[in-house]
Amino acid sequence: MASRAAAVACAVAGACLFAFAGAVAWTGCGTSTRREWQRAREAWQRHDPRAWQAWIAIDPGSVEGRDARSRLAAAELKYRRGIELLRTGAPGAREALLDGTRLGPMDPALYLPLARAYRERGFDERAAEFYKKYLSLGPAVAVARAEAQAELAALGPDVFQADLVAPEPPFEILGVAPGALVAALAAALVATLALALAAWRRRGPPLSARAAAHPELQPALAYLVGCLRHEILKHRIGAVGDAVAALARGGDPAALALLVERLYRGEPLEAAWRGHLTSFVRALGPDFALLRNERSFRAADRALRAIARLERPLARGDGRAIARLGRAFRTLRAFDGELAALTAGFARTRLDGALLAELVRAVLGEPACAQAPLDELVIAPLAPDLAVEIYKIDLAIAVKNVVRNAIVAVGRGAAPRRVALDVDVTVEPTGEESVRIRVHDSAPEPLDAAELAAARVDRGLGLARETLRRAGGALEVAPGADGYAKAVVLRLFRAFDAGHVASRPPLRAAS
């Protein structure tokens, strides 16, 4: 009895140690980063205006840093949408801004556009609050400072407090001789050229290669690319394809009106594009300055800048402008296709009996589980051609931790000590399919959803839960099959084959 208790203790300790080691290796960071992340989140919760800086300062190479940047990028999209909806008086602004506040702090660069949007809608006190926040940023906002001060002052004495908007010291050039000034300018020019050359040499490998080399960045990359494609390349550029063609065929007022609405109303196209590019850098780090590294992004940038210059010539029916618009449109459609191809193969793992057997064998070979008594472990046959939206390494982490936990738990109970794995697939009302990998065990120890939710990330189930969450999935507990006390369920979405239905004729659907 004593030796079995010792074996169980060793098993539990071994499992925890393994899980902890896995967590450290997986996160690639130590406790200092976690503490920094904790402090940054606390700053956000107490509405500290320095919260955004604290979030962006987290090491982007750490899990916490990537999480922070990913949330900042998602929040920024919400904030930008909220500002645009507020500015145009469209419904949903409040909800979008609230969505942003739920995700993360606001980039201080958005304070001024938000202040102006509030001012335009007549919310002077809210406008003043954000003007003041903007002006409190100090020298970083020198360029627009005077305008912001004037706009704040124009809101009236009730909301204007001069003590918060002390003027910047004036910029002066004092006592510089003309020759020295020329020499200084020449030196500056040389330095600029040298920096440009160095920046050009620092260009990294193509985006596809970087995505392949850093699979851990692919979920964030897929999200950012998806937002860019949906908001700009589908709803603003893609929507005008027929209008561009109609203009090329000859004057068409309806086509021109649609084109003007999509390309030149609302948030300026270039600003929206720049916002998305900034989101890549914030979420993924400075290596993802895509205009520097990516030929296709530079071509898209040129096309969007060209479009921005064409509003007046298009309104005049200028034939060269229409031709230029057509070329820009084709460039951007090609760019959209490249982005679709880039993300099509992300985060996809084939799930079959061989993979589950391989993972189970690896767990059974660990000292902790090799010593735990186990009477039966069964893997039920899986549906063919099944793939799930998760990286193989992450799926392995999640499955192994849950299986290890089950083996150790049944080892603590009475015979028969049984573990079984099965997989079921359910079609969701959205047409997606959810995949459940169920790990049944006969251990009588209870486990409920609250325990799963509370499990620390440096413990097996907590690590599995967080790994699945990052892949869009979840970890649950459910009743076990006949003969089993419970099942811990790894839930994921099925990964479909890439490709769309562009080349397919409309079909009469099966009933």
Binding site: R102, A239, V240, D242, R262, A340, P429, L452, A509
Partner: protein, 143 residues
Amino acid sequence: VTRRLLVIEDGTEYVEFARAFLSGFAVEAAQSAAAALDALAARPADALLIDLRFERAAPEALVGDAAETAARLFAGDRERAERYLMEQQGALILGALRAAGHQQRAVFIHDFPPRRLENLRRLYGDVVAIPSFDAAALRAALG
């Protein structure tokens, strides 16, 4: 003969596109499942054009129970469930319309993978998708 097309979206992009390029269709708009049901009850439509993502819609206007979705798919995480309902809202609206007996062709402008489109057809019958705004493809899809 003019055919009636009901466009269901959270903005105005689809309806503006349809009115500009779909001659032969009388285009009506609805911005939620409830509005679509009202419009169809008032006058049937020959086809439906449905946006998938409803990010600008108020949460209370969305089809789908966030609490139930959170419990079923996201281990109780309501925020993820609400985002999911917004991102997949068009398919859920189609489900609500089918449940109310409206069986006309539904068209999505979305690059669904083939298997997912087959699933939508098994669930909701006459469903077609085109990957991008393209008037000729949309006219063909509307039949």
